[in-house]
Protein backbone atom coordinates (compact mmCIF):
# COMPACT_ATOMS: atom_id res chain seq x y z
CA UNK A 1 0.00 0.00 0.00
CA UNK A 2 1.52 3.33 -1.06
CA UNK A 3 2.14 5.40 2.09
CA UNK A 4 1.60 9.13 2.36
CA UNK A 5 4.94 10.85 2.85
CA UNK A 6 4.92 14.22 1.17
CA UNK A 7 2.07 16.08 -0.43
CA UNK A 8 3.23 15.64 -4.00
CA UNK A 9 3.30 11.89 -3.54
CA UNK A 10 -0.02 10.74 -5.01
CA UNK A 11 -2.47 8.93 -2.81
CA UNK A 12 -4.76 6.48 -4.49
CA UNK A 13 -8.27 5.78 -3.34
CA UNK A 14 -10.76 3.06 -3.87
CA UNK A 15 -12.66 2.78 -7.12
CA UNK A 16 -16.26 3.83 -6.79
CA UNK A 17 -18.91 3.96 -9.51
CA UNK A 18 -19.48 7.47 -10.90
CA UNK A 19 -22.66 8.90 -12.39
CA UNK A 20 -22.83 8.85 -16.16
CA UNK A 21 -23.29 6.31 -18.93
CA UNK A 22 -19.80 5.65 -20.23
CA UNK A 23 -17.02 4.21 -18.13
CA UNK A 24 -13.49 3.33 -19.20
CA UNK A 25 -11.35 1.06 -16.99
CA UNK A 26 -7.61 0.61 -17.48
CA UNK A 27 -5.86 -1.90 -15.24
CA UNK A 28 -2.92 -4.24 -14.94
CA UNK A 29 -2.17 -7.33 -12.82
CA UNK A 30 -3.90 -7.12 -9.42
CA UNK A 31 -5.76 -4.01 -10.51
CA UNK A 32 -8.40 -6.36 -11.94
CA UNK A 33 -9.45 -7.14 -8.39
CA UNK A 34 -10.09 -3.47 -7.72
CA UNK A 35 -12.58 -3.58 -10.59
CA UNK A 36 -14.31 -6.74 -9.43
CA UNK A 37 -14.47 -5.38 -5.87
CA UNK A 38 -16.07 -2.20 -7.15
CA UNK A 39 -18.59 -4.19 -9.18
CA UNK A 40 -20.26 -5.15 -5.93
CA UNK A 41 -21.17 -1.50 -5.33
CA UNK A 42 -22.16 -0.65 -8.88
CA UNK A 43 -25.80 -0.10 -9.83
CA UNK A 44 -27.44 -2.65 -12.13
CA UNK A 45 -26.57 -2.13 -15.77
CA UNK A 46 -23.42 -0.18 -14.87
CA UNK A 47 -21.13 -2.37 -16.97
CA UNK A 48 -23.40 -2.15 -20.03
CA UNK A 49 -21.68 1.15 -20.75
CA UNK A 50 -18.22 0.06 -19.67
CA UNK A 51 -15.04 -0.68 -21.61
CA UNK A 52 -12.30 -2.54 -19.75
CA UNK A 53 -8.70 -2.50 -20.93
CA UNK A 54 -6.65 -5.03 -18.98
CA UNK A 55 -2.95 -5.90 -19.18
CA UNK A 56 -2.88 -9.37 -17.67
CA UNK A 57 0.33 -11.03 -16.52
CA UNK A 58 1.78 -13.94 -18.49
CA UNK A 59 -0.50 -16.40 -16.69
CA UNK A 60 -3.70 -14.62 -17.68
CA UNK A 61 -4.91 -14.31 -14.12
CA UNK A 62 -8.18 -12.50 -13.45
CA UNK A 63 -9.33 -12.40 -17.09
CA UNK A 64 -12.23 -14.69 -16.39
CA UNK A 65 -13.37 -12.57 -13.46
CA UNK A 66 -13.47 -9.51 -15.70
CA UNK A 67 -15.32 -11.38 -18.45
CA UNK A 68 -17.94 -12.31 -15.88
CA UNK A 69 -18.81 -8.62 -15.40
CA UNK A 70 -20.05 -8.61 -19.02
CA UNK A 71 -18.65 -5.20 -19.95
CA UNK A 72 -19.59 -3.72 -23.32
CA UNK A 73 -15.96 -4.28 -24.36
CA UNK A 74 -12.98 -6.12 -22.91
CA UNK A 75 -9.54 -5.59 -24.47
CA UNK A 76 -6.47 -7.54 -23.46
CA UNK A 77 -3.39 -5.76 -24.77
CA UNK A 78 -0.07 -7.42 -23.97
CA UNK A 79 1.59 -4.21 -22.73
CA UNK A 80 1.01 -0.52 -22.07
CA UNK A 81 2.89 0.53 -25.16
CA UNK A 82 0.63 -1.59 -27.32
CA UNK A 83 -2.57 -0.17 -25.87
CA UNK A 84 -1.47 3.41 -26.42
CA UNK A 85 -2.62 4.08 -30.01
CA UNK A 86 -6.07 2.68 -29.37
CA UNK A 87 -6.43 4.57 -26.09
CA UNK A 88 -5.51 7.85 -27.74
CA UNK A 89 -8.05 7.27 -30.46
CA UNK A 90 -10.77 6.37 -27.95
CA UNK A 91 -10.13 9.55 -26.05
CA UNK A 92 -10.08 11.67 -29.21
CA UNK A 93 -13.54 10.42 -30.09
CA UNK A 94 -14.90 10.46 -26.56
CA UNK A 95 -17.40 12.89 -25.17
CA UNK A 96 -17.83 14.70 -21.91
CA UNK A 97 -19.47 12.32 -19.50
CA UNK A 98 -16.89 9.56 -20.00
CA UNK A 99 -15.47 8.55 -16.62
CA UNK A 100 -12.03 7.01 -16.18
CA UNK A 101 -10.99 4.36 -13.65
CA UNK A 102 -7.32 3.37 -13.30
CA UNK A 103 -6.19 0.44 -11.16
CA UNK A 104 -3.04 -1.59 -10.57
CA UNK A 105 0.63 -0.61 -10.37
CA UNK A 106 1.67 3.00 -9.93
CA UNK A 107 3.43 2.95 -13.28
CA UNK A 108 0.26 1.89 -15.09
CA UNK A 109 -1.89 4.44 -13.28
CA UNK A 110 0.60 7.23 -13.92
CA UNK A 111 1.07 6.51 -17.61
CA UNK A 112 -2.63 6.08 -18.30
CA UNK A 113 -3.30 9.32 -16.44
CA UNK A 114 -0.68 11.08 -18.57
CA UNK A 115 -2.56 10.17 -21.74
CA UNK A 116 -5.86 11.21 -20.23
CA UNK A 117 -4.44 14.56 -19.11
CA UNK A 118 -3.33 15.23 -22.68
CA UNK A 119 -6.87 14.53 -23.83
CA UNK A 120 -8.23 17.19 -21.49
CA UNK A 121 -9.46 15.12 -18.55
CA UNK A 122 -8.74 16.76 -15.18
CA UNK A 123 -6.81 14.46 -12.83
CA UNK A 124 -9.19 15.03 -9.93
CA UNK A 125 -12.02 13.47 -11.91
CA UNK A 126 -10.22 10.17 -12.45
CA UNK A 127 -10.79 7.30 -10.04
CA UNK A 128 -7.57 5.51 -9.05
CA UNK A 129 -6.74 2.50 -6.91
CA UNK A 130 -3.30 1.06 -6.30
CA UNK A 131 -2.90 -2.71 -6.17
CA UNK A 132 0.20 -4.85 -6.29
CA UNK A 133 3.80 -3.83 -6.77
CA UNK A 134 5.23 -0.58 -5.38
CA UNK A 135 7.83 -0.44 -8.15
CA UNK A 136 8.35 3.09 -9.43
CA UNK A 137 9.04 4.95 -12.64
CA UNK A 138 11.82 7.39 -11.93
CA UNK A 139 13.05 10.41 -13.91
CA UNK A 140 16.71 11.28 -13.53
CA UNK A 141 16.74 15.04 -13.01
CA UNK A 142 20.19 15.22 -14.56
CA UNK A 143 19.81 13.45 -17.90
CA UNK A 144 15.96 13.44 -18.00
CA UNK A 145 15.87 9.73 -18.80
CA UNK A 146 13.13 7.61 -17.21
CA UNK A 147 14.04 4.33 -15.54
CA UNK A 148 11.23 1.79 -15.22
CA UNK A 149 10.49 -0.66 -12.43
CA UNK A 150 12.71 0.87 -9.75
CA UNK A 151 12.51 -1.18 -6.58
CA UNK A 152 15.68 -0.15 -4.73
CA UNK A 153 16.84 2.86 -2.76
CA UNK A 154 19.11 4.28 -4.08
CA UNK A 155 18.80 3.29 -7.73
CA UNK A 156 21.02 3.61 -10.77
CA UNK A 157 19.82 5.67 -13.71
CA UNK A 158 19.50 3.26 -16.63
CA UNK A 159 20.53 6.04 -19.04
CA UNK A 160 23.45 7.99 -17.57
CA UNK A 161 24.57 5.67 -14.79
CA UNK A 162 24.46 8.15 -11.90
CA UNK A 163 23.42 6.75 -8.52
CA UNK A 164 20.15 8.43 -7.59
CA UNK A 165 18.15 9.06 -4.44
CA UNK A 166 14.61 7.99 -5.35
CA UNK A 167 12.55 10.83 -3.92
CA UNK A 168 8.87 10.77 -3.05
CA UNK A 169 8.41 14.00 -5.03
CA UNK A 170 6.20 12.94 -7.98
CA UNK A 171 5.20 14.60 -11.24
CA UNK A 172 1.82 13.75 -12.79
CA UNK A 173 2.91 15.32 -16.04
CA UNK A 174 5.92 13.00 -16.35
CA UNK A 175 4.26 10.10 -14.47
CA UNK A 176 7.47 9.58 -12.54
CA UNK A 177 9.22 10.10 -9.23
CA UNK A 178 12.26 12.35 -9.10
CA UNK A 179 15.74 10.86 -8.91
CA UNK A 180 18.59 13.09 -7.74
CA UNK A 181 22.27 12.17 -7.56
CA UNK A 182 22.78 10.84 -4.04
CA UNK A 183 26.52 11.24 -3.83
CA UNK A 184 27.16 14.45 -5.75
CA UNK A 185 28.87 16.12 -2.82
CA UNK A 186 31.16 13.19 -2.18
CA UNK A 187 31.39 10.56 -4.89
CA UNK A 188 33.17 8.16 -2.61
CA UNK A 189 30.03 7.78 -0.51
CA UNK A 190 28.13 4.80 -1.90
CA UNK A 191 25.10 4.02 0.27
CA UNK A 192 24.07 0.36 0.12
CA UNK A 193 21.23 -0.43 -2.26
CA UNK A 194 18.19 -1.86 -0.50
CA UNK A 195 14.83 -3.17 -1.67
CA UNK A 196 12.45 -0.33 -0.85
CA UNK A 197 9.58 -0.56 -3.38
CA UNK A 198 8.84 -4.26 -3.84
Amino acid sequence: MAAKTIISRPIYGTLSPQPGKHHLFIADAEGALAITDMAGKAPPGFFDGAEIVFIAGPEGKHIAALEALKPAQLHLPPSFASLLPRLKQTLTNAQMGLRLYLAGTEGLIGQAMQVALEAGIDHTSMQTEHRGSLARRMQCVHCKGITENVTTQPATCSHCGLLLLVRDHYSRRLAAFQGVCINAEDRSEIPPMEEAFP
Binding site: Q18, P19, G20, K21, H22, L91, T92, A94, Q95, M96, G97, L98, R99, A119, G120, I121, D122, T124, S125
Partner: protein, 321 residues
Amino acid sequence: MSTGTTKLDVVVSDVVPVNDLVTRFHFRRRDGELLPTFSGGAHVVVEMRDGERTRLNPYSLMGSPLDTREYTISVRRDDVGRGGSLFMHRSVKPGLEMVISYPVNLFSLDLRAKKHLMLAGGIGITPFMAQTAQLAGAGGNFELHYTCRTASLGTYADVLQQRHGNRVRLYHDDREERIDLDRLLSSQPLGTHLYVCGPAGMINWVRDRAAALGWPPETVHYEHFAAPQPGLPFDVTLAVSGKTIRVGEQQSLLEAIEAAGVDPPCLCRGGVCGQCETNVISYDGKFIHNDHWLSEEDHRSGCKIMPCVSRFEGKSLVLER
Protein backbone atom coordinates in the same frame (compact mmCIF):
# COMPACT_ATOMS: atom_id res chain seq x y z
CA MET B 1 -13.49 39.37 0.50
CA SER B 2 -10.68 41.27 -1.15
CA THR B 3 -9.26 43.60 1.43
CA GLY B 4 -9.91 46.60 -0.70
CA THR B 5 -9.02 46.60 -4.35
CA THR B 6 -7.58 49.77 -5.68
CA LYS B 7 -10.31 52.24 -6.54
CA LEU B 8 -10.91 53.95 -9.86
CA ASP B 9 -12.30 57.46 -10.21
CA VAL B 10 -14.67 57.38 -13.15
CA VAL B 11 -17.38 59.46 -14.78
CA VAL B 12 -20.54 58.09 -16.35
CA SER B 13 -20.14 58.74 -20.07
CA ASP B 14 -23.43 57.28 -21.28
CA VAL B 15 -26.67 55.71 -20.02
CA VAL B 16 -28.57 53.63 -22.61
CA PRO B 17 -31.91 51.91 -21.94
CA VAL B 18 -31.68 48.57 -23.72
CA ASN B 19 -35.17 47.29 -23.07
CA ASP B 20 -37.95 47.52 -20.45
CA LEU B 21 -35.83 46.03 -17.71
CA VAL B 22 -32.22 46.57 -18.65
CA THR B 23 -30.13 49.73 -18.88
CA ARG B 24 -26.50 49.94 -19.93
CA PHE B 25 -23.98 52.26 -18.24
CA HIS B 26 -20.68 53.41 -19.70
CA PHE B 27 -17.76 54.64 -17.56
CA ARG B 28 -14.57 56.48 -18.48
CA ARG B 29 -11.67 57.41 -16.24
CA ARG B 30 -11.93 60.94 -14.89
CA ASP B 31 -8.28 61.59 -15.79
CA GLY B 32 -8.86 60.48 -19.37
CA GLU B 33 -6.39 57.57 -19.25
CA LEU B 34 -7.19 54.03 -20.38
CA LEU B 35 -8.89 51.85 -17.82
CA PRO B 36 -7.03 48.77 -16.57
CA THR B 37 -7.33 45.76 -18.83
CA PHE B 38 -9.07 42.67 -17.46
CA SER B 39 -9.96 39.03 -18.12
CA GLY B 40 -13.39 38.05 -19.51
CA GLY B 41 -15.79 37.24 -16.66
CA ALA B 42 -14.41 39.97 -14.39
CA HIS B 43 -16.70 42.36 -12.54
CA VAL B 44 -16.26 45.74 -10.92
CA VAL B 45 -17.86 46.78 -7.66
CA VAL B 46 -19.77 50.03 -8.08
CA GLU B 47 -20.11 52.32 -5.05
CA MET B 48 -23.51 53.91 -4.88
CA ARG B 49 -23.73 56.91 -2.54
CA ASP B 50 -27.43 57.18 -1.89
CA GLY B 51 -27.69 60.00 0.65
CA GLU B 52 -26.63 58.58 4.00
CA ARG B 53 -26.36 55.09 2.67
CA THR B 54 -23.62 53.49 0.62
CA ARG B 55 -24.30 50.34 -1.35
CA LEU B 56 -21.73 48.21 -3.15
CA ASN B 57 -22.92 46.08 -6.06
CA PRO B 58 -20.82 43.93 -8.38
CA TYR B 59 -21.54 44.09 -12.13
CA SER B 60 -19.87 42.07 -14.86
CA LEU B 61 -17.82 44.01 -17.38
CA MET B 62 -19.41 43.47 -20.78
CA GLY B 63 -16.97 45.09 -23.11
CA SER B 64 -14.06 43.46 -24.86
CA PRO B 65 -10.91 43.25 -22.71
CA LEU B 66 -9.05 44.37 -25.81
CA ASP B 67 -10.57 47.88 -25.70
CA THR B 68 -10.44 49.66 -22.37
CA ARG B 69 -11.25 53.23 -23.26
CA GLU B 70 -14.43 52.64 -21.33
CA TYR B 71 -16.11 50.01 -19.19
CA THR B 72 -19.71 48.98 -19.84
CA ILE B 73 -22.07 47.21 -17.47
CA SER B 74 -25.73 46.31 -17.77
CA VAL B 75 -28.11 46.56 -14.83
CA ARG B 76 -31.42 44.76 -14.67
CA ARG B 77 -33.98 46.69 -12.68
CA ASP B 78 -35.06 44.70 -9.63
CA ASP B 79 -38.08 46.34 -7.99
CA VAL B 80 -37.99 44.17 -4.87
CA GLY B 81 -34.26 44.01 -4.09
CA ARG B 82 -32.12 46.07 -1.72
CA GLY B 83 -32.39 49.06 -3.99
CA GLY B 84 -29.03 49.08 -5.77
CA SER B 85 -30.42 48.52 -9.25
CA LEU B 86 -33.19 51.06 -8.64
CA PHE B 87 -30.58 53.58 -7.61
CA MET B 88 -28.67 52.93 -10.82
CA HIS B 89 -31.77 53.26 -13.00
CA ARG B 90 -33.16 56.33 -11.28
CA SER B 91 -30.22 58.36 -10.06
CA VAL B 92 -27.27 57.68 -12.34
CA LYS B 93 -27.04 60.06 -15.28
CA PRO B 94 -24.27 60.92 -17.74
CA GLY B 95 -21.68 63.20 -16.14
CA LEU B 96 -22.07 61.72 -12.66
CA GLU B 97 -18.73 61.05 -10.95
CA MET B 98 -18.54 57.66 -9.34
CA VAL B 99 -16.01 55.31 -7.77
CA ILE B 100 -15.58 51.70 -8.87
CA SER B 101 -13.15 48.96 -7.92
CA TYR B 102 -10.45 47.52 -10.13
CA PRO B 103 -11.70 44.45 -12.01
CA VAL B 104 -11.91 41.24 -10.01
CA ASN B 105 -12.51 37.88 -11.67
CA LEU B 106 -14.34 35.10 -9.83
CA PHE B 107 -15.68 33.53 -13.01
CA SER B 108 -12.72 33.09 -15.27
CA LEU B 109 -12.34 30.95 -18.34
CA ASP B 110 -10.31 27.77 -18.02
CA LEU B 111 -7.91 28.40 -20.88
CA ARG B 112 -6.96 24.72 -21.04
CA ALA B 113 -10.41 23.92 -22.37
CA LYS B 114 -10.63 22.54 -25.88
CA LYS B 115 -14.08 24.08 -26.07
CA HIS B 116 -16.06 26.52 -23.94
CA LEU B 117 -19.80 25.79 -23.68
CA MET B 118 -21.70 28.75 -22.27
CA LEU B 119 -25.26 28.81 -20.97
CA ALA B 120 -26.80 32.19 -20.19
CA GLY B 121 -30.17 33.04 -18.71
CA GLY B 122 -31.53 36.60 -18.80
CA ILE B 123 -29.11 39.20 -17.47
CA GLY B 124 -26.62 36.38 -16.95
CA ILE B 125 -25.53 37.13 -20.51
CA THR B 126 -23.25 39.95 -19.34
CA PRO B 127 -20.03 38.09 -18.42
CA PHE B 128 -20.29 36.10 -21.64
CA MET B 129 -20.25 39.31 -23.69
CA ALA B 130 -16.69 39.94 -22.55
CA GLN B 131 -15.64 36.29 -22.67
CA THR B 132 -16.88 35.71 -26.21
CA ALA B 133 -15.13 38.89 -27.33
CA GLN B 134 -11.90 37.71 -25.72
CA LEU B 135 -12.11 34.21 -27.20
CA ALA B 136 -13.12 35.42 -30.66
CA GLY B 137 -10.10 37.75 -30.64
CA ALA B 138 -7.82 34.79 -29.98
CA GLY B 139 -9.47 32.23 -32.26
CA GLY B 140 -10.92 30.25 -29.35
CA ASN B 141 -13.58 27.56 -29.63
CA PHE B 142 -16.88 28.46 -27.95
CA GLU B 143 -20.62 28.04 -28.20
CA LEU B 144 -23.16 30.21 -26.42
CA HIS B 145 -26.76 29.19 -25.62
CA TYR B 146 -28.87 32.07 -24.40
CA THR B 147 -32.37 31.82 -22.93
CA CYS B 148 -34.51 34.91 -22.52
CA ARG B 149 -38.13 35.58 -21.75
CA THR B 150 -39.00 37.39 -24.95
CA ALA B 151 -37.09 38.61 -27.98
CA SER B 152 -37.23 42.18 -26.76
CA LEU B 153 -35.74 41.12 -23.44
CA GLY B 154 -32.99 39.25 -25.22
CA THR B 155 -30.48 41.84 -24.27
CA TYR B 156 -27.70 42.03 -26.87
CA ALA B 157 -28.95 38.94 -28.71
CA ASP B 158 -28.70 40.78 -32.03
CA VAL B 159 -25.21 42.01 -31.30
CA LEU B 160 -24.07 38.53 -30.37
CA GLN B 161 -25.53 36.90 -33.44
CA GLN B 162 -23.99 39.52 -35.66
CA ARG B 163 -20.58 39.04 -34.10
CA HIS B 164 -20.53 35.28 -33.72
CA GLY B 165 -23.06 33.85 -36.16
CA ASN B 166 -24.07 30.28 -35.52
CA ARG B 167 -21.90 29.99 -32.43
CA VAL B 168 -24.84 31.67 -30.66
CA ARG B 169 -28.21 29.92 -30.20
CA LEU B 170 -31.21 31.75 -28.79
CA TYR B 171 -34.18 30.33 -26.91
CA HIS B 172 -37.26 32.45 -26.24
CA ASP B 173 -39.52 31.38 -23.36
CA ASP B 174 -42.57 32.98 -24.91
CA ARG B 175 -42.11 30.84 -28.01
CA GLU B 176 -41.69 27.69 -25.90
CA GLU B 177 -38.09 27.28 -27.05
CA ARG B 178 -36.13 25.30 -24.50
CA ILE B 179 -32.52 24.21 -24.31
CA ASP B 180 -32.37 20.45 -24.87
CA LEU B 181 -29.92 20.26 -22.01
CA ASP B 182 -29.40 16.51 -21.80
CA ARG B 183 -28.73 16.28 -25.51
CA LEU B 184 -26.39 19.26 -25.40
CA LEU B 185 -24.43 17.88 -22.44
CA SER B 186 -24.17 14.41 -23.97
CA SER B 187 -22.60 15.56 -27.18
CA GLN B 188 -19.55 17.61 -26.20
CA PRO B 189 -15.98 16.55 -26.92
CA LEU B 190 -13.73 15.54 -24.02
CA GLY B 191 -11.98 18.62 -22.68
CA THR B 192 -15.03 20.90 -22.89
CA HIS B 193 -15.69 23.24 -20.00
CA LEU B 194 -19.21 24.37 -19.11
CA TYR B 195 -20.07 27.86 -17.86
CA VAL B 196 -23.49 28.92 -16.60
CA CYS B 197 -24.73 32.32 -15.45
CA GLY B 198 -28.34 33.17 -14.79
CA PRO B 199 -31.07 32.75 -12.17
CA ALA B 200 -30.30 30.40 -9.29
CA GLY B 201 -32.86 27.89 -10.51
CA MET B 202 -31.18 27.64 -13.89
CA ILE B 203 -27.73 27.24 -12.35
CA ASN B 204 -28.94 24.44 -10.07
CA TRP B 205 -30.70 22.64 -12.92
CA VAL B 206 -27.62 22.76 -15.14
CA ARG B 207 -25.28 21.63 -12.36
CA ASP B 208 -27.55 18.71 -11.45
CA ARG B 209 -27.91 17.47 -15.01
CA ALA B 210 -24.19 17.86 -15.72
CA ALA B 211 -23.32 15.80 -12.63
CA ALA B 212 -25.82 13.10 -13.52
CA LEU B 213 -24.42 12.87 -17.02
CA GLY B 214 -20.90 12.35 -15.76
CA TRP B 215 -19.39 15.86 -16.03
CA PRO B 216 -16.75 16.22 -13.30
CA PRO B 217 -17.34 19.26 -11.02
CA GLU B 218 -14.02 20.86 -12.07
CA THR B 219 -15.44 21.31 -15.57
CA VAL B 220 -18.59 23.13 -14.51
CA HIS B 221 -18.21 26.83 -13.71
CA TYR B 222 -20.92 29.11 -12.45
CA GLU B 223 -20.88 32.74 -11.52
CA HIS B 224 -21.40 33.43 -7.90
CA PHE B 225 -21.18 37.08 -7.05
CA ALA B 226 -19.60 37.61 -3.67
CA ALA B 227 -21.21 40.95 -2.93
CA PRO B 228 -18.96 42.62 -0.41
CA GLN B 229 -21.04 44.68 1.91
CA PRO B 230 -19.68 47.87 3.36
CA GLY B 231 -19.55 47.18 7.04
CA LEU B 232 -21.76 49.10 9.33
CA PRO B 233 -19.82 51.67 11.35
CA PHE B 234 -18.99 50.62 14.92
CA ASP B 235 -17.31 52.11 17.99
CA VAL B 236 -14.30 50.63 19.74
CA THR B 237 -12.52 51.49 22.97
CA LEU B 238 -8.75 51.03 22.92
CA ALA B 239 -8.04 50.26 26.55
CA VAL B 240 -4.26 50.56 26.53
CA SER B 241 -4.01 53.85 24.70
CA GLY B 242 -7.17 55.19 26.30
CA LYS B 243 -8.87 56.17 23.04
CA THR B 244 -12.33 55.65 21.63
CA ILE B 245 -12.58 55.35 17.88
CA ARG B 246 -15.32 54.94 15.32
CA VAL B 247 -14.64 52.51 12.47
CA GLY B 248 -16.27 53.92 9.34
CA GLU B 249 -18.11 52.03 6.64
CA GLN B 250 -15.27 52.17 4.16
CA GLN B 251 -12.50 51.65 6.69
CA SER B 252 -11.03 48.53 8.27
CA LEU B 253 -10.65 48.27 12.05
CA LEU B 254 -6.88 48.29 11.58
CA GLU B 255 -7.04 51.49 9.53
CA ALA B 256 -9.20 53.13 12.20
CA ILE B 257 -6.74 52.16 14.92
CA GLU B 258 -3.86 53.51 12.87
CA ALA B 259 -5.78 56.72 12.17
CA ALA B 260 -5.99 57.23 15.94
CA GLY B 261 -2.21 57.19 16.15
CA VAL B 262 -1.88 53.66 17.51
CA ASP B 263 0.38 51.32 15.49
CA PRO B 264 -0.23 47.62 16.04
CA PRO B 265 2.22 45.24 14.39
CA CYS B 266 0.92 44.21 10.99
CA LEU B 267 2.32 42.80 7.80
CA CYS B 268 0.08 41.25 5.20
CA ARG B 269 -3.08 43.33 5.86
CA GLY B 270 -4.97 40.33 4.47
CA GLY B 271 -5.88 38.19 7.47
CA VAL B 272 -3.24 35.47 7.10
CA CYS B 273 0.06 36.36 8.75
CA GLY B 274 -1.06 36.73 12.36
CA GLN B 275 0.91 39.87 13.12
CA CYS B 276 -2.02 42.11 14.10
CA GLU B 277 -3.70 39.57 16.40
CA THR B 278 -5.44 41.59 19.09
CA ASN B 279 -6.92 40.53 22.42
CA VAL B 280 -10.52 41.39 23.21
CA ILE B 281 -11.04 42.64 26.75
CA SER B 282 -14.81 42.78 26.62
CA TYR B 283 -17.63 42.96 24.13
CA ASP B 284 -21.39 43.11 23.76
CA GLY B 285 -22.37 42.15 20.24
CA LYS B 286 -21.11 39.84 17.55
CA PHE B 287 -17.87 39.45 15.65
CA ILE B 288 -17.61 39.20 11.88
CA HIS B 289 -14.40 37.19 11.50
CA ASN B 290 -13.00 37.35 7.94
CA ASP B 291 -9.46 36.11 8.62
CA HIS B 292 -7.66 32.83 7.91
CA TRP B 293 -5.35 32.98 10.92
CA LEU B 294 -7.38 32.31 14.08
CA SER B 295 -8.78 28.87 14.77
CA GLU B 296 -12.53 28.08 14.83
CA GLU B 297 -12.23 27.97 18.59
CA ASP B 298 -10.60 31.39 18.72
CA HIS B 299 -13.38 32.73 16.53
CA ARG B 300 -16.04 31.34 18.83
CA SER B 301 -14.33 32.37 22.05
CA GLY B 302 -14.66 36.09 21.40
CA CYS B 303 -11.21 36.60 22.90
CA LYS B 304 -9.32 37.58 19.77
CA ILE B 305 -9.78 39.49 16.56
CA MET B 306 -7.70 40.23 13.45
CA PRO B 307 -8.34 43.94 12.85
CA CYS B 308 -7.00 44.03 9.31
CA VAL B 309 -10.00 42.17 7.90
CA SER B 310 -12.57 41.50 10.64
CA ARG B 311 -15.38 43.67 12.00
CA PHE B 312 -17.90 43.87 14.81
CA GLU B 313 -21.59 44.69 15.26
CA GLY B 314 -23.07 45.54 18.60
CA LYS B 315 -23.13 47.79 21.60
CA SER B 316 -19.52 47.81 22.75
CA LEU B 317 -16.08 46.44 22.05
CA VAL B 318 -12.95 46.96 24.15
CA LEU B 319 -9.59 45.92 22.72
CA GLU B 320 -6.16 45.54 24.28
CA ARG B 321 -4.44 48.22 22.21
